[in-house]
C-alpha cells in the first residue's frame, strides 16, 4: 500500500465505512430524485418539482413522511421476525457497497477483498431470506404469496448469475473485483469480450435485485404490495429504500464487472497514483454506473408488465441456465487456448459475439413457457383435491 494514511486497520474502518454508508444513503436520495424526474420524461410529464428547487427535497420529504407515520404492527404477527426482516434486507445491500472498487486499490484509498465475487454472491443471497422472513412473519396470505414468489425467483436466478460471474472470473483470472477491473484495463471491457455473459448477468441480476420487469418486491399491482403489505412507517420506508439501493448497486456491479470500473482500456499509466488518481477513478465509475442506470430505467418504463411466476422460473431454468453453461464452456475453452488469463487478444470478440447471437436465436426458437391450464376437479366448499 502506498499511502500511509490508511495503513491502520482501525483508521480504515472508522473512516471508510461511515463514508461508504453515508455515501450510499445520499446516493439513494439523489437517485430517487433523478429516477422520478427521469421516468416522468418517458411518460411525457414532469415529475416532482415543487419541494425545493427542481424538486430536490422531494425524497427527503417522502422519507420524513415515512418516518413519521404510525408504525402499525398487527397483533398476530411474529414480532421478532417481523422486526428482523427489514434489517435482514437492508444490511446486506449496504454491505455489498464495501467491495465495489471506486478507485484503484493500489492508491490505498479503497480496500480490496481477494474473494470479492464470492462475497458478492453470498451477501446478496441474504436478501432472499429477509424477504421470506417478511412474508412469513406477517400473518397475511398476500404477503405469503409474495414471499414465496420472491424466494423462488431469487433461488432460480442465482444459478445463471453465478455461472456468468464464474465466466468473468475465469477471463480475469482472479476473484477480486479490483483484479477484474485491472484485467479489463489490459484486455478490453468484458461487455465486448463476453456479450452472452453480460446479457445473462444483466437479466439475472435484474431478477435478483427486483428491478422491473421482475419487481416482486415492489408494490405489485396483482398482490397489492406483496411482501410489505403489513409494514408501515419507517419499516416500509426501509423496503422502499432497499428497492432503490439495489438498483444502484446493480448498476455499480455491472459497471465494475463488465464496463471496466474505474479504468479505461490502456489507461494504466495515464492517471496519477494516489488520492488524485482515486478521484478520477471515482468519476469514471460514476459515469458508467449512470449509463447503466439510465438503461435500466428505460427498460423499466417500457416493459408493459411482468411475467407470471412459473414463466419467470421457466425462463431461468430453461433459457438462462443452459445459455450460461454454454457461455462458461466457451469462455473456459478460450482461456485454455490462450494459455492463462491475462493474454487475451481483443479479437476473441469476433468469436463470442456471433456465438451469442446464434445461441440467443436458437434458444428463442425452442424455449416454451409451459405452465398452461391445469385440470383441477375442485369441490366447492369442500376443498378436497381431486382423485
Amino acid at each position: 500500500m502506498d499511502a500511509p494514511v490508511f495503513d491502520n486497520w482501525w483508521g480504515h474502518f472508522l473512516l471508510f465505512a461511515p463514508i461508504c454508508i453515508f455515501g450510499a444513503l445520499t446516493f439513494l436520495l439523489l437517485f430517487l430524485w433523478f429516477d422520478r424526474r427521469y421516468w416522468a420524461r418517458y411518460q411525457i410529464r414532469v415529475g416532482p418539482n415543487r419541494c425545493g428547487p427542481w424538486g430536490l427535497l422531494q425524497c427527503l420529504a417522502d422519507g420524513l413522511k415515512m418516518a413519521l407515520k404510525e408504525d402499525i404492527i398487527p397483533s398476530k404477527v411474529d414480532k421478532f421476525l417481523h422486526g428482523l426482516a427489514p434489517l435482514l434486507i437492508m444490511f446486506p445491500v449496504l454491505m455489498v457497497f464495501a467491495i465495489i472498487p471506486f478507485a484503484n486499490a493500489r492508491s490505498g484509498v479503497v480496500p480490496d477483498l481477494n474473494i470479492g465475487l464470492i462475497y458478492l454472491v453470498g451477501i446478496t443471497s441474504i436478501v432472499g431470506i429477509g424477504l421470506l422472513t417478511a412474508g412469513w412473519a406477517s400473518s397475511n396470505k398476500w404477503s405469503l404469496v409474495g414471499a414465496m414468489r420472491s424466494i423462488a425467483t431469487m433461488v432460480s436466478y442465482e444459478f445463471p448469475v453465478v455461472l456468468s460471474l464464474v465466466g468473468v472470473g475465469l477471463m480475469a483470472g482472479t476473484l477480486s473485483m479490483n483484479g477484474i477491473v485491472e484485467a479489463q484495463e489490459r484486455n478490453g471491457w468484458f461487455i465486448l469480450l463476453q456479450p452472452l455473459g453480460f446479457l445473462i448477468f444483466f437479466v439475472g441480476m435484474m431478477a435478483e435485485t427486483g428491478r422491473s420487469p421482475f419487481d416482486f418486491m415492489e408494490c405489485e399491482s396483482e398482490l397489492g404490495c406483496g411482501v410489505n403489505t403489513e409494514y408501515s412507517g419507517l419499516r416500509f420506508g426501509i423496503f422502499q429504500m432497499v428497492e432503490f439501493m439495489e438498483g444502484v448497486l446493480m448498476s455499480f456491479i455491472v459497471a465494475t464487472l463488465f464496463l471496466g470500473g474505474y479504468s479505461f482500456p490502456g489507461s494504466q499509466g495515464i492517471f496519477p497514483e494516489g488520492a488524485l488518481g482515486a478521484v478520477f477513478g471515482l468519476i469514471a465509475v460514476m459515469i458508467k454506473m449512470f449509463i447503466v442506470y439510465i438503461f435500466l430505467g428505460w427498460i423499466k418504463c417500457t416493459m408493459p408488465g411482468r411475467l407470471r411466476i412459473d414463466q419467470w422460473m421457466g425462463f431461468a431454468w430453461k433459457a438462462l441456465l443452459p445459455l450460461s453453461v454454454l457461455n462458461l464452456i466457451i469462455v473456459a475453452f478460450e482461456v485454455v487456448a490462450f494459455g492463462g488469463a491475462p493474454n487475451f487478444p481483443a479479437w476473441v470478440l469476433f468469436i463470442n459475439l456471433p456465438a451469442c447471437i446464434i445461441l440467443i436465436m436458437l434458444w428463442s426458437r425452442f424455449w416454451t413457457t409451459g405452465g398452461g391450464r391445469i385440470n383441477v376437479r375442485a369441490v366447492r366448499q369442500g376443498h378436497t383435491q381431486g382423485a
Binding site: K141, P304, N375
Partner: protein, 378 residues
C-alpha cells in the same frame, strides 16, 4: 376450443392445503370495489366466487320516482367511463315507448358521440390492462393522453368531462358548434399516429404475449351459452355486433367492419378492442363528413307521459350489449326501469375462465373483460 400451451392432469399430489384468498374489494387492480373470493392451491386457482354489491346505489328504484328526463343523469352513473352510451340506450327506449322521432342532425351527433365514447372507453381499458400486467404506468399515461383529448372535445360540447347528461329524449341537449366539428375532424386525423405508437409499444411485446396468449380462454360455445356480448364474444370468434345486425340510430348508413378473433383469450380481447378503435375512427370519419344541419332535439312535452306499454332497447355499448327495459303506466315517471347490464352478464363465465389458471392470470382476465362497477352493481 380452449388452447393452452401444455395441460397437465391432476398435478396436485403433495398434501397441500388450499387456502381462501380474497381479491378485493380493496385491491389496486380490481377496477373498482369488486370482490373475488378465490380458493388457491399454491398459485393455482381451484375455485372462484364473485361477490358484488359494494357499489349498489339503488338507481333502478330511484328512477321510479323521477321523471323521464330526470332519469337521464342517473343513467350516466352506470358505465361512467362511457356515460353517453348509457344515456343513448335509455333515450332510445323512451323514444320507442313514446313514439318520438329524432331529427337527422341529432342522429348524426349521437353516432359521433357514441363512437367517440367507444374509442375513449377502449383506449382506457387498454391502458388499465397494462396496469394489471404490472407496468410502470407508461401505457396508461399514453392511453390517458388520448382519452384526455377526447374529454376536451366533450367538455367543449357539454361542459363536463365525465358525467355528461347530454342526450335527451328526442335528440341531444345542445347543438355542436362548428369549432367542435372542426376539432373532432382534427382529432380523427391525428389519432392514427398515436394509436400506432400504442400499438407498437404493446401488441408485439413478448412479455405481454407470453402472459396473455392462451390464458383466460373462453370457447365460443360457452360464450354464447353464458350470454356474453361485446368484445368478449367477438374475441371467441362469434361474429355478432348489434350495430350491424340490429341497427339502431343510423348505423346502417355507415361502412365498418366487425373485428373477430379465434381463441377468446386475453390477447384476443386486447386485439379486438384495439381493432374496434380503428373502426370507430372510420365511422367518425364518415359521420363528420356527412352531418347535416338542422334541429337537435325533437319537441315533446316537458313532463312526458308515454302511453301504457313497455319497451326494450339495446345498443352496442363499448363493454357489450347494454339494454334498457322500461314499463310505463302513463305517468310522468317510469313504472319499472331495468338495466340489462353488459358487464354483469359478461362476468358470469368468470369462474370457468379462471379455474385451472394462476393468480396472476386472474387479475389479467378480470382486466381484459373490462368491468366497470357502476354497471355491475347499479
Amino acid at each position: 376450443m380452449v388452447q393452452s400451451l401444455d395441460t397437465r392432469e391432476e398435478i396436485i399430489q403433495v398434501a397441500t392445503q388450499p387456502y381462501v384468498l380474497n381479491i378485493g374489494p380493496h385491491h389496486p387492480s380490481t377496477h373498482g370495489v369488486f370482490h373475488l373470493r378465490t380458493v388457491l392451491d399454491g398459485e393455482v386457482i381451484v375455485d372462484a366466487e364473485i361477490l358484488i354489491g359494494y357499489l349498489h346505489r339503488g338507481i333502478e328504484k330511484l328512477a321510479e320516482t323521477r321523471t323521464y328526463t330526470q332519469v337521464i343523469p342517473l343513467t350516466d352513473r352506470f358505465d361512467y367511463l362511457a356515460s353517453m352510451t348509457n344515456n343513448l340506450a335509455y333515450c332510445l327506449a323512451v323514444e320507442k315507448l313514446a313514439g318520438i322521432e329524432v331529427p337527422e342532425r341529432a342522429q348524426y351527433l349521437r353516432v359521433i358521440l357514441a363512437e367517440l365514447m367507444r374509442a375513449s372507453s377502449h383506449v382506457m381499458s387498454l391502458g388499465f390492462l397494462m396496469n394489471d400486467l404490472g407496468s410502470l404506468f407508461t401505457p396508461l399515461f399514453l392511453a390517458a393522453r388520448e382519452r384526455e383529448k377526447m374529454l376536451d372535445l366533450f367538455e367543449m360540447l357539454s361542459g363536463q368531462r365525465l358525467l355528461y347528461n347530454f342526450m335527451r329524449i328526442g335528440g341531444v341537449s345542445q347543438d355542436a358548434t362548428d369549432l367542435f366539428l372542426f376539432k373532432a375532424r382534427q382529432f380523427v386525423d391525428q389519432m392514427p399516429m398515436y394509436l400506432n405508437e400504442i400499438d407498437q409499444l404493446l401488441t408485439e411485446n413478448e412479455v405481454f404475449r407470453v402472459r396473455a396468449e392462451g390464458t383466460g380462454a373462453l370457447s365460443a360455445e360457452d360464450a354464447i351459452n353464458f350470454s356474453c356480448s361485446g368484445p368478449v364474444l367477438r374475441a371467441c370468434g362469434v361474429d355478432r355486433d348489434i350495430r350491424r345486425d340490429d341497427p339502431y340510430l343510423i348505423y346502417d348508413r355507415f361502412d365498418f367492419d366487425v373485428i373477430t378473433c379465434q381463441n377468446g383469450d386475453n390477447y384476443d380481447r386486447y386485439r379486438v378492442r384495439l381493432g374496434e378503435i380503428w373502426q370507430s375512427l372510420r365511422i367518425l370519419d364518415q359521420a363528420l363528413r356527412d352531418i347535416p344541419s338542422g334541429e337537435v332535439q325533437a319537441k315533446h312535452p316537458h313532463f312526458l307521459r308515454p302511453p301504457v306499454g313497455e319497451a326494450f332497447s339495446r345498443i352496442e355499448a363499448p363493454k357489450g350489449e347494454l339494454g334498457f327495459y322500461l314499463v310505463s303506466d302513463n305517468s310522468i315517471a317510469p313504472y319499472r326501469f331495468h338495466v340489462r347490464s353488459s358487464t354483469l352478464i359478461n362476468l358470469t363465465p368468470l369462474s370457468k375462465m379462471l379455474i385451472g389458471w394462476k393468480l396472476a392470470d386472474a387479475i389479467l382476465t378480470l382486466g381484459s373483460i373490462d368491468i366497470v362497477l357502476g354497471e355491475i352493481d347499479r
